[in-house]
Amino acid sequence: MHISDTQPAARRRIAAALSAVCCLLLAACGSGSGAASIGGNRPTTITYWTWLGGMQQVVDRFNATHSDVHVVLSKIPAGTSGGYSKMFTAVRAGNAPDAATVEYPELPAFATQGAIQDLTPYGGADLRSRYPAWVWGMVDQGGKVWGLPRDIAPMVLYYRTDLLAQYGLTVPTTWEQYAAAARTIHRRDPKAVIGAFSTGDSALLAGLAWQAGAQWFSTPGDSWKVSTQDAASSRVAAFWQPLVGGGLVANEPAYAQQWTADLQAGNLVTAIGGPWSAAYLQRLAPKAAGKWAVAPMPQWPGQAAGDGTNGGSTMVLLKGSKHPKQVMEFLDWVSNSPDSIKAVEPVSPGAYPAALADIPVAKQVFDSTQTYYTGTSLFDVAAQASTTVGTGWQWGPDMAQSLSDLNDALAGSMTGPGGLRAAMDSWERTTRADLRERGMNVSG
């Protein structure tokens, strides 16, 4: 079992290495014309799996401007809705695509499971200065570069200008104001709520804890430390517990049926999301055009301004790809070229580039094409928010499972004893046991 499993993989790796060497040699001879010189001018075809909106346009633009590499895109289900299992299964079966989209939380799992390749041999490590430090910290782990950041999602607060005015409120800038506004809104209209906090959306809770300064995973002394016992996590739990328990916020996952119905009915006064959420609000509630605006996240009093993230994605090179160099060319172009940004932004407005140099390009397209949002530009709010994102946050080595476990722990937390705090405690134990079971070093 052991031998037959690893042998083809080893063979593939040798083949990949050989083809990489060939490419380099030929590139050297052919004065930089690269793979195109192999077998006439036939472009190398590579496959790319994603579920992100606007990527077909990006791929079309890439193909139109590149004669050496031809990319074929396949739409797959969203990562945690089956896309990731599809990728893992394809890698196991040896028929994986060359490139794919992976979100930041799941990147370590793809790395540890051996489903993606280190980009360092293809110049990945030289791109560090392109991105904010907190972004690079999520792809550069264990001394290897596991993916190129494409878009990032510092959290922002979307709000209905008309509804806030109707309730005589201003945009909450602190969480205290947020809670006070929640009470006012619910008193004035029992059907309306300030926003949603779902006990089925553990990634949102993680982002909020990150904003407060928590650091659930860390790797001191070559072992995983999992802890939610810090003051920031407790603060977040204590804040949301009465709001959710008392029905002052809607306990429903964002973008799902019920949330959408509330959004359309004008029952949601604000929504926490990433810059990418802009496209969703616009699409799900087209009638509210001109009523939504964007503000920074409410802050914790007595703390320096902070933020967490809610989404964002990287581009990865999957294990078994026979054309790593060409894939790298594609990844590099998608995650860092004005052309790519111009292709995606009109289709997926709000997509916020990870590369610092691309942000003005995206902002220009967004500001000049969209009419749905009023007030300060989403891109100005997000740019400011991005500078306050905590740099210490790290995702664990098995987040698909960990986030699912946290959802399970949260599921009954509103009626169970101890609420959110107890749910985090039990999740922490489950996660430690899970990592230990895999043979990883776990401390604490």
């Binding site: 079992m1 052991h2 499993d5 690893t6 089956g82 990731y84 299992s85 893992f88 299964t89 370590p108 799992a109 790395a111 540890t112 499971q113 051996g114 782990q141 264990g142 001394g143 290897k144 779902s198 006990t199 089925g200 790797t219 070559d222 072992s223 995983w224 306990n251 429903e252 996952p253 799902a256 049926q257 019920q258 949330w259 119905a261 509330d262 080595p397 098995d398 698909a400 499972q401 699912s404 476990d405 959802n407 399970d408 599921a411 009954g412 009626t415 899970d434 079971e437 895999r438 043979g439 990883m440 070093n441």
Partner: protein, 311 residues
């Protein structure tokens, strides 16, 4: 034995060849679709992937023996899930059989006109794929969207179909809706084999419709009842689609390990722990096998004793 292998007459040999030929497709399919996956699952379950340090250097496969089986038997998620599906079966099976039986008897009774119409009507929900049925019901259960909940609210009933106390009932309801018609048609077909002369004799002896149903028809279709029951029990153990759909709905208390099948799915496709998923699946198969055997044994004994009583 030695006489058989020595040299059977050609006619018998040819017949044996024919039998083998006729049986071959079955055994071939059995091997490909049943024995091979089971064997593969067993092999998967015996090896697990181990990481070192922080895990950045990848994993290696090690022989783990029955480690994952022992792990499952100590895993509260697996045991809770198993308890849940057994509770589900305890409620679902009798309810299903009772309602299906009543409907089948009504269909069969002389009073019913337009039998074909009702038969088709009963089967209709079964034509809807399980996934779609679950989606429809999630819609009907979701407050704010569902006409059903708003109607219940109007008459003063505030039911949360997703709360931890009621979600099992909500799933049983979906299953009943989908399978009652199927089971009642199955039982109705069995009722057709009751000999008219027996029924006539009962009538001549003065038995009314109800007495005939209880004393003649029901005992007669016991094997069909057992088969229906068995399928429902095995279906309960494999409960997956409905809770999986309900899991994604708002405020749902269905977890990723709510049933053993969900747990196996999550272990395989969320955390890439194929060996543990295989171990859970095989344990579940073993439970289903034991339950089926017990049911068969029980029926066999009852049948034999009733035959003895008859003679």
């Amino acid at each position: 034995m030695s006489a058989l292998t020595a040299s059977p007459p050609p006619a018998r040999r040819r017949r044996r060849l024919h039998i083998a030929l006729l049986l071959a497709p079955f055994y071939l399919l059995f091997a490909v679709a049943f024995v091979a996956p089971l064997g593969y699952g067993l092999v998967l379950s015996l090896f697990r992937e181990r990481f070192t340090g922080l895990g950045w250097n990848g994993s290696h496969l090690v022989f783990a023996g029955f480690h994952d089986y022992a792990r499952a038997l100590q895993d509260s998620r697996f045991l809770d899930g198993l308890g849940r599906v057994l509770l589900y079966a305890v409620v679902d099976v009798p309810l299903m059989l009772a309602i299906a039986l009543v409907l089948a008897l009504l269909l069969d009774s002389a009073l019913t006109t337009a039998r074909r119409f009702f038969q088709a009507l009963l089967l209709l929900p079964h034509f809807v794929p399980g996934l779609i049925a679950a989606l429809i019901w999630v819609y009907l259960y979701t407050p704010g969207l569902s006409p059903l909940t708003s109607w219940l609210n109007d008459i003063g009933l505030h039911i949360d179909f997703f709360s931890s106390g009621s979600v099992l009932g909500s799933i049983i309801n979906i299953s009943l809706w989908q399978w009652i018609g199927y089971n009642s048609v199955l039982l109705y077909v069995a009722l057709q084999s009751v000999s008219p002369s027996v029924l006539e004799a009962a009538r001549l002896d003065g038995a009314g419709e109800i007495r005939t149903a209880l004393s003649i028809k029901v005992p007669h279709i016991r094997p069909a009842l057992v088969v229906s029951g068995l399928f429902t029990v095995i279906g309960s153990l494999q409960l997956f689609t409905e809770p999986k759909i309900l899991q994604g709905s708002a405020g749902s208390t269905v977890t990723a390990s709510w049933t053993p099948n969900l747990l196996a799915f999550s272990e395989a496709f969320n955390s890439n722990d194929y060996s543990y998923a295989a171990a859970i699946s095989l344990l579940l198969a073993a439970v289903a096998g034991v339950l089926s055997l017990l049911a068969m044994k029980l029926v066999g004994r009852v049948d034999r004793s009733s035959q003895e009583a008859d003679s």
